[in-house]
């Protein structure tokens, strides 16, 4: 009979975290920024079909970086969670807070119980109703949850991206200004944009995708 080696929990958690961080660092980053009438999500994404940004519910958007199949699984689970809750109770009862809690629980469990942790980082943005403030949450690979205001960044270079966003961000930007600020925070040549906004448009559904051309047009605007 072979005896299992003893691995101290500190070492186990550190190894898993290193593994997950390495995976995430290979992916490109995503920035989120509040502007005067909504929230902008901007990602560097050369693919026009493999999306990282998605609608979850009327006022909630999702962005994921890292391993595609893993954050896609969480995205689908998130949409189901929101749709079931809205159907069971009322559309107004679906909130980003309960959604990110579910994400955090799931990721936390996978981090400690599965053979390998998920190599993903998530961002969930929610447009406030009426005068209520917008909300943005970052969820890490181990289920750690951060509440962000104004701007947020996830992905391999999220720390640098976040610093550059902090330097350029101010409350009350217009959408054009917000796109310029967010795009300016990405370094080097960008091969293509994926972008979406949650927008106070008076409709039930507030999520709208922006094409790479629309983003370029905003950047070029004087």
């Amino acid at each position: 009979m072979t005896m299992p080696f003893y691995v101290p929990p500190e070492q186990l958690v550190k190894d898993r975290a290193d593994f997950a961080r390495k995976g995430i660092a290979r992916g490109r980053s995503i920035a989120a920024l509040e502007y005067d009438t909504g929230i902008l999500l901007l990602a560097e994404n050369p693919s026009g079909t493999l999306h990282k940004i998605s609608e979850i519910y009327d006022r909630i958007a999702f962005a994921g970086v890292g391993k595609f199949n893993e954050f896609e699984l969480l995205r689908v689970a998130g949409i189901r969670h929101a749709d079931v809750k809205g159907y069971m109770y009322s559309r107004a009862d679906v909130s980003a807070k309960s959604l990110v809690n579910a994400f955090a629980q799931t990721l936390g469990n996978i981090f400690t119980h599965e053979v390998k942790p998920f190599e993903v980082e998530l961002l969930v943005a929610e447009l406030g109703v009426g005068d209520e403030p917008n909300r943005m949450y970052r969820v890490l690979y181990d289920g750690t949850l951060y509440d962000q205001t104004g701007f947020a960044a996830i992905g391999g270079n999220s720390d640098e991206l976040s610093e550059r966003l902090a330097a350029a961000y101010r409350p009350g930007l217009t959408l054009t200004e917000a796109v310029k600020v967010a795009a300016g925070a990405f370094e080097g040549e960008v091969e293509g944009w994926e972008s979406a906004v949650l927008e106070r448009n008076g409709h039930r559904r507030t999520f709208r995708k922006l094409t790479s051309e629309e983003v370029e047009a905003f950047i070029a605007e004087k």
Binding site: H51, S54, V76, R80, H81, D83, V84, Y87, M88
Partner: protein
């Protein structure tokens, strides 16, 4: 959080739709109590709804009355609903079940759109609705009949299209107009002599409302425009730009004119 079935399922089955997610979570309505005769219950019945094609798209109209036997149950009921940005669904029959069916249908379409990043084809939406109706069949044998009507704009053909259904989930595409509910027969007979596939948006609206008024003249369960109370039919128009729920101030003059001309 519900775990996606894809984890266990493999690629032979399409990913679970919303209705299946509900079923797996034990939240879907099930009809396993099949006793007695529901005709003893006093339930609201939704009456006449119609869809009429015109040159650029399709109109869907519904009267506002629900009946309970010989009495009026609701005067301001809504029976015509947007199902997404380019399609609409209307209901007739047992109101309580029909409204729930519409809610499930709407959620399923939006769910699919979010998961796949694209809308279901118009045929796909109609087929799915047919399946929902078929699931109600045990209830139909109890006397609780639900029959919807579906229409939308199809970008692949560039036209408005409409589908009628029967209680067993049969799905029939109509190329001119269709209706369901107690007054539908009268409305269709009016439309047979007044429908013109080349009519514009304005004439289409007028013809659609007139056929509803014609139905109300003959069918006691259908209410025409109620000018005294200010209750007008619900109207949805769908064309290449999407779906519009017409406001009362647009419908009112057309409805009042229709009351003058249809006898």
């Amino acid at each position: 959080m519900t775990q996606p079935r894809a984890l266990a399922g493999g690629i032979t089955e399409p990913p679970a739709g919303f209705a299946e997610v509900l079923l797996a979570a034990g939240l879907a309505p099930t009809w396993d109590v099949l006793l007695g005769d529901a005709s003893k219950l006093s339930l609201a019945d939704a009456t006449t709804v119609l869809a009429v094609r015109y040159a650029d798209g399709v109109y869907m109209v519904g009267d506002r009355q629900a009946t309970e036997g010989y009495s009026v149950a609701h005067r301001r009921m809504k029976k015509v609903f947007p199902s997404d940005d380019f399609s609409a669904v209307a209901i007739s029959g047992t109101a309580g079940l029909a409204i729930e069916l519409v809610r499930l249908f709407q959620t399923e379409l939006e769910h699919y759109e979010k998961l796949e990043g694209t809308r279901l084809s118009l045929e796909g939406r109609a087929n799915f609705l047919a399946r929902l109706v078929r699931q109600q069949l045990p209830m139909a044998f109890q006397g609780l009949v639900v029959v919807p009507l579906f229409c939308g704009f199809d970008h692949t053909t560039g036209t408005g299209r409409l589908f009628t259904f029967d209680v067993v989930g049969g799905r029939y595409e109509e190329d001119d107009f269709g209706g369901t509910g107690s007054g539908a027969k009268e409305a269709r007979s009016y439309l047979r002599s007044h429908f013109d596939p080349t009519m514009g948006a304005e004439e289409g609206l007028s013809v659609a409302i007139k056929s509803l008024v014609a139905a109300a003249e003959q069918d006691v369960a259908t209410s025409g425009p109620d000018v005294r109370r200010g209750i007008y039919p619900n109207v949805i128009r769908i064309d290449v730009d999407g779906l519009v729920e017409l406001p009362d101030d647009v419908i009112a003059p057309v409805a009042e004119a229709a009351l003058e001309t249809v006898r």
